[in-house]
Amino acid sequence: MKEERKKHLLNLGLWTWSWVATLAIATFGPKFIWDDHLALTTFAIITNLVNGVLMILANRKLFNHYDELERKIHLESLALTLGLTVIVGLTYSLLDQTNIIPFDAEIGILVGFVGLTYMTTLLINRKRYS
């Protein structure tokens, strides 16, 4: 069971790093590597998208390997993260639209918020059931 878990975790780790790398290439490549070549940019974006889908499938495999308590913990954390992201995301967008914040709302901030919220709710839920 543990060996299989390690295998799934390693697989997810590899796809995650690969996705981050292809995202970086698709983001900075057009400006710094291939001078806005349309075909290369399209190829980089499609590669990143396919990589993202494979990362999700690897995550699903790991999730399906969890036992019932782990699934409950992850599902509760995901539900809280989804709810908070919608609420906070819309508030953040409103703050931008009404110019209450002196800068443009960046999607990166929301992605960071999702990651932090998921980690925090996961830690809290793990503590609750230990």
């Binding site: 069971m1 036992d67 019932e68 308590l69 782990e70 409950k72 609750r128 059931y129 230990s130």
Partner: protein, 66 residues
Amino acid sequence: MKNKVRELRKQKGLTQEQLAEIIGVSRQTINAIEKEKFDPSLPTAFKMAKLFEMSIENFFLFDETK
């Protein structure tokens, strides 16, 4: 839900890790069941019943007031 899993596990001379391995769940799950923080699924309860050689209602005590 109240249960006698810890007591029965000790009677069988098993550690949480060993019981978890036999049932096919993590040690944390066994710990959460024993501390009555988590109620297991039916398949897990049936696996335990088979191991402890008794029916589920003999070691999981349902309290209607909760």
